[in-house]
């Protein structure tokens, strides 16, 4: 079997229209299982940790300053811990900071230290539905307030089996939120570097969209791409392991600060090409904006694929189509936003080099 025959064999194996339709239907259905219903209709307000951080810092300063002034004016503050179970029937979180006094040995100096970083979430669960609203508040040495809002759900079904109202108390640990895009990207990069499933991992920082915060590109196995952007204090995945370098997919390129990603893919040994353009939406997802088909064969029988006798002159025949409408070469070229650079072509960094680039060494 020649190399060409080998390629032709696999070129001919494609998902049929029947299978594609079946899978589209199957994979469009919501996941089955006990949690499928419990997450529907829930809106999570995205946390804005930067402002939360500022607010926390201000609150911290206020507490420390106020506490110091108050302490100097008073002889002693008795530490009183309110009973966290004092309001079991409502959705209440207890926020408490205890001040503990440590007398330094024989110096007479008294130090005030915030002792607790505890959070108690009391959740009242009527029947099996969620509490209409929840507020999680946490205090620690740095005061951080996070609010999760769950829209009110009204059950129209009468209570049958569970007439009793139950109260559940849980304690959560909120992970520390990185203070900057640099730290957030480093966390993401480290998760790749530490994952034994990935090999040949390298990184690059690219200015993909219009702002001055770069995007983090991660290459694994030298043929798979991940892309992340930073927004609202967190990294957001734009590309989740797209392959390139095989099956006619030549890879992904961008124009700096133009919010334009280009990908070229081809079938039939280049006789039918696809140039796709993608951009980041305001909702921080990557969206395909345009696909240009380049036909390097003359489709005499109109079946949409090259047949024998239709590509003898492939070098002299080229047509461009967008959404089935033929366009000129100039119109096709106008979709490009500038000179495209392969992601990772300018710099390919190891984790240590990335740390240095992020200024986190």
């Amino acid at each position: 079997m020649t190399q060409k025959e080998f390629r032709n064999l696999f070129d001919s194996i494609r998902c049929s229209e029947e299978l594609t339709a079946r899978m589209e239907e199957l994979l469009s259905e919501p996941p089955e299982g006990e949690f499928a219903e419990s997450v529907s209709g829930v809106t999570v307000t995205r946390k804005r940790s930067r402002w939360a951080g500022y607010a926390g810092l201000a609150a911290c300063l206020l507490l420390v300053t106020g506490g110091a002034v108050y302490f100097l004016g008073q002889e002693r503050i008795p530490a009183v811990r309110p009973d966290p179970d004092s309001h079991p029937e409502t959705s209440v979180q207890t926020e408490q900071t205890m001040l503990t006094e440590h007398n330094a040995q024989n110096t007479g100096i008294t130090e005030t230290v915030p002792e607790t970083a505890q959070k108690t979430e009391a959740e009242t669960t009527p029947n099996t539905s969620r509490t209409p609203s929840q507020t999680i508040m946490e205090t620690s040495d740095m005061v951080v307030t996070e609010t999760v809002t769950v829209p009110e759900e009204t059950s129209t079904e009468p209570l049958t089996e569970y007439e009793e109202t139950t109260t559940t108390t849980t304690t959560e640990t909120v992970p520390e939120v990185p203070e900057s895009w640099q730290k957030a990207y480093l966390e993401t990069a480290e998760s790749f570097a530490q994952n034994p499933d990935f090999t040949d991992v390298n990184f690059s920082l690219i200015y993909f969209d219009e702002d001055d915060v770069p995007e983090l590109a991660v290459h694994t196995y030298l043929t798979t791409l991940y892309l992340y952007t930073y927004d609202g204090g967190e990294t957001i995945e734009l590309i989740d392991g797209w392959s390139y370098g095989a099956m006619g997919n030549t890879g992904y390129s961008y124009v700096p600060y133009a919010n334009s990603l280009q990908n070229y893919n081809h079938d039939y040994a280049g006789l039918l090409g696809y140039t796709s353009y993608m951009s980041i939406t305001p909702e921080k997802t990557l969206e395909v904006t345009d696909v240009i088909e380049t036909w390097n064969f003359n489709d005499l029988n109109g079946n949409g694929m090259p047949d024998e006798g239709e590509y003898d002159n492939e070098l002299s025949y080229t047509a461009y189509y967008v959404d089935g409408v033929e366009i000129t070469a100039e119109e096709a070229a106008a979709y490009a936003k500038g000179e495209y650079i392969a992601i990772g072509a300018e710099s390919s960094l190891t984790l240590e080099e990335l740390k240095a680039e992020l200024g986190l060494t």
């Binding site: 299978l19 199957l26 469009s28 090999t199 392959s243």
Partner: protein, 124 residues
């Protein structure tokens, strides 16, 4: 991207690849389509970190042990898959080894055996 959209997106991206790999084990389109459907359903339920690896690993796992036809029956298990992943997809033996759970040296050995068999038999 939610799970079902992720799975759908993955099917559009990797559907042909999974089907081709399944064919390497079954040499039967109907069986290969069943494996493909099953693997993407698993993806929908499990939401793994490395999607392509997950799909190909599970395709190989489901394809192994099935009745094979033609020259595939004369090949060691995984041999056709290794030929496909290496010669068609352009994957390195290290990557193929990590997908199939085999040592790189064994993958290289399968490649050599497969090429020899194909040369003798002429077609798959």
């Amino acid at each position: 991207m939610n799970v079902e959209n992720m799975a759908l997106h993955a099917f559009r991206q990797y559907g042909d690849q999974v089907l081709r790999l399944a064919c390497c084990y079954t040499a039967d389109m109907r069986e290969a389509e069943e494996i493909t459907a099953s693997v993407f359903q698993m993806l929908m339920e499990q939401d793994p970190t490395e999607i392509q690896g997950f799909l190909l690993q599970n395709t190989a796992a489901q394809g192994r042990g099935l009745h094979q036809h033609g020259v595939l029956a004369m090949m060691p298990e995984d041999c056709a898959a290794v030929l496909y992943l290496h010669d068609y997809e352009g994957m390195e033996p290290e990557r193929i080894g990590s997908l199939l759970g085999e040592r790189t040296q064994y993958i290289i050995q399968l490649l050599e055996q497969g090429r020899e068999l194909l040369g003798k038999e002429g077609s798959v």
